[in-house]
């Protein structure tokens, strides 16, 4: 016999990492995020209009991407029609404001509710579908939505030119017409959404989504009502996207079907994966890369999407978990 047997208890190595130290790390990250958000408030003071409007667009798409992440990154449902919900919110605001003369702020609850309602209504039957089949069904929804808008559904969506000349919001009698004012509005809403997302992650509902994503059968035998939870995830994701839709309509002052086509959904999908599923900073980073970079590199005109495509491959190959993956245990 060449060696002595050692006690069995040593057969498993224990890492020094404790829950406590992880918490510190997470809190640190949150402080950084909070700090960045506060810094963002100063964008209008420091940059010109071109940059302010880029920052505003970032905030808006950041919200949509975060809402997509609820469905895709957290609950693991392949939603490739998310631009549809974003569009519903934008169209609700545009129609109520332009056709019926409502003030922008009054349209917000409707934008949220209608998108969330459509999300829930669609999800309820569709969530039986798994993986790529759900993906195609959501693509289908997106396509139907866009076509309906193009076909001037009910004579109120304005066809492929959409609805132009959307008004500006009034707050306490002040007109939020300047680009800075609109930016602050977008930025504050982004801040609220960030807080909601953070809370979601720390709540039982947020965790339930992740259980479902990782093992649906195991979750249901632990008492998770998967149908209900998934429908709710769709509704919440769609509702937040609808909220962003309102902001978009205000920022661009035009809504038209081409803003909400399937390709936009693909981009949202890609943001979540490129940034890091279920990771708030990751999704924001992804948004910056996928929506803002192409805007900034307009001067490269013809080469920009070529470079962009190459960058997408490179990012995935080098960081398959995304640029800033969710802090979780590494398996």
């Amino acid at each position: 016999m060449d060696a002595k047997l050692k006690p069995l208890s040593q057969s498993v190595s224990i890492k020094g990492d404790t829950l406590f130290s992880r918490r510190i790390g997470l809190k640190g990250a949150r402080r950084i995020a909070g700090g960045l958000w506060v810094l963002g408030l100063f964008v209008p003071a420091l940059f010109d209009n071109a940059w302010i409007s880029i920052a505003a667009i970032f905030a808006i798409y950041g919200i949509v991407a975060l809402s997509e992440d609820i469905i895709l990154g957290r609950a693991g449902m392949f939603d490739m029609g998310h631009a549809g919900y974003f569009g519903i919110g934008a169209y609700v605001t545009a129609i109520l404001n332009v056709t019926f003369g409502w003030p922008i702020f009054a349209t917000i609850p409707f934008a949220i509710l209608v998108s969330a309602g459509v999300g829930a209504l669609l999800a309820a039957p569709l969530i039986r579908l798994r993986g790529d089949y759900l993906l195609v069904a959501t693509i289908g929804f997106n396509a139907i939505f866009v076509l309906a808008m193009r076909n001037n559904l009910g004579g109120i969506t304005g066809g492929s030119g959409g609805i132009t000349d959307i008004g500006v919001p009034f707050l306490f009698g002040f007109q939020l017409a300047s680009q800075s004012a609109m930016f602050w509005l977008d930025w504050v809403v982004l801040g609220i959404v960030l807080v909601l997302m953070r809370n979601l992650d720390a709540s039982e509902f947020g965790r339930t989504l992740r259980y479902l994503k990782q093992d649906e059968l195991a979750s249901t035998t632990l008492g998770v009502d998967s149908r209900m939870v998934k429908t709710l995830a769709f509704a919440i994701g769609a509702g937040l996207a609808g909220l962003a839709g309102t902001l978009f309509a205000v920022q661009i002052s035009t809504v038209s079907p081409s803003s909400f086509v399937f390709t936009e959904s693909v981009t949202l999908f890609a943001i979540v994966i490129v940034g890091g599923q279920g990771s708030i900073p990751g999704v924001l980073l992804g948004t910056a890369l996928m929506f803002i970079l192409p805007q900034i590199f307009r001067d490269f005109a013809q080469y920009r999407y070529l470079i962009f495509g190459f960058a997408m491959i490179a990012v995935m190959v080098l960081r398959p978990q995304g640029l800033w993956p969710q802090r979780s245990v590494r398996a």
Partner: protein, 300 residues
């Protein structure tokens, strides 16, 4: 009646093209669980390569069909090579990663190829020379069907059948299916998984190049964003039939073509896509894994 028959042929022609492209999707998906979003762009790459061959050999005095054959061969070879390189560069490093990472890599590849095509061949519509094929049109019962249409339908049925036999009735085909299920286990059977995947990335793009060139010859045009549209429809066809299933891809493609034709011809051309998608969703609700998709219950 003539109108009806005509609509069937209208649908079958387009459906045949969808089916050819869908077969490539399904093959790659079957082995790698990867939605190869770049597949449609590879197909159109085939169309452009074929076009370049046709225009550069035009007027050389050789007969049209011979030139066409040459164009097909060159397009197939180059597109298959592109497929293999794509696998090597963009997908192989991600084999062990979350499958969505590879999907995004595929999207990146799609953008890359699409814009590469734009830079090489320009952003405008490229037009194919006419008169390559016999301008025969058969008229029967008020319907007309052209030689090109017949060629597309026959070729897609033939290629589908050949592929089906290859995958289901040869040893190598079984190896492909085994690698599709569990790559490590397949390697333990003595299967060279890298080779299997490389071959799948030859077969898929080969069919795709054929499909792409058919599109070019049939519509006599190609433009750089076309791959995305056809790719999407072919992907939907593959899903409709049950992704990973070869006859399913064929069935899905043909059905999609027919839906399109009947929706536009009998209901409303402006709601054509909406009707098609609504039908698709309805079918999926009844058969959640597609028409011929695997329905093996998860055993726990």
């Amino acid at each position: 009646m003539g109108t009806f028959i005509q609509q069937v042929f209208n649908g079958l022609t387009v459906g045949g093209i969808y089916a050819l492209i869908a077969l490539g999707y399904t093959m790659v998906y079957g082995v790698m669980r990867l939605i190869n979003f770049a597949h449609g762009d590879l197909c159109i790459l085939g169309a452009f390569i074929g076009l370049t061959m046709l225009t550069s050999t035009a007027g050389s005095g050789h007969p049209g069909p011979a030139l066409l054959l040459l164009a097909f061969v060159v397009a197939i070879v180059l597109v298959a090579a592109a497929g293999v390189v794509l696998e090597l560069v963009a997908y192989r490093p991600l084999r062990k990663a979350d499958r969505l990472a590879a999907v995004i890599s595929a999207l990146g590849a799609s953008l890359l190829i699409e814009n590469g095509i734009m830079l090489i061949w320009g952003p405008e519509v490229a037009v194919f020379p006419s008169g390559l094929l016999p301008r025969i049109t058969w008229h029967a019962a008020g319907a007309s069907i052209s030689f090109v249409q017949v060629m597309i339908i026959v070729a897609s049925i033939f290629l589908m059948a050949a592929l089906y036999l290859f995958v289901n009735h040869t040893r190598f085909g079984t190896a492909i299916r085994a690698a599709a299920i569990d790559q490590d286990a397949a390697r333990l059977m003595g299967i060279n998984v890298n080779r299997v995947i490389a071959i799948v990335f030859v077969i898929g793009p080969t069919l795709g190049a054929v499909g792409g060139l058919f599109i070019g010859i049939y519509y006599r045009e190609a433009y750089f964003t076309m791959g995305w549209t056809y790719g999407l429809y072919a992907f939907i066809a593959a899903i409709l039939g049950g992704i990973g299933n070869i006859p399913g891809a064929m069935l899905g493609g043909v059905l999609l073509g027919l839906f399109n034709a009947f929706a536009a011809g009998y209901v409303s051309s402006s709601w054509q896509n909406a009707i098609t998608f609504a039908l698709l969703i309805a079918i999926l609700l009844v058969r959640p894994t597609g028409l011929l998709g695997e329905r093996v219950a998860e055993k726990v």
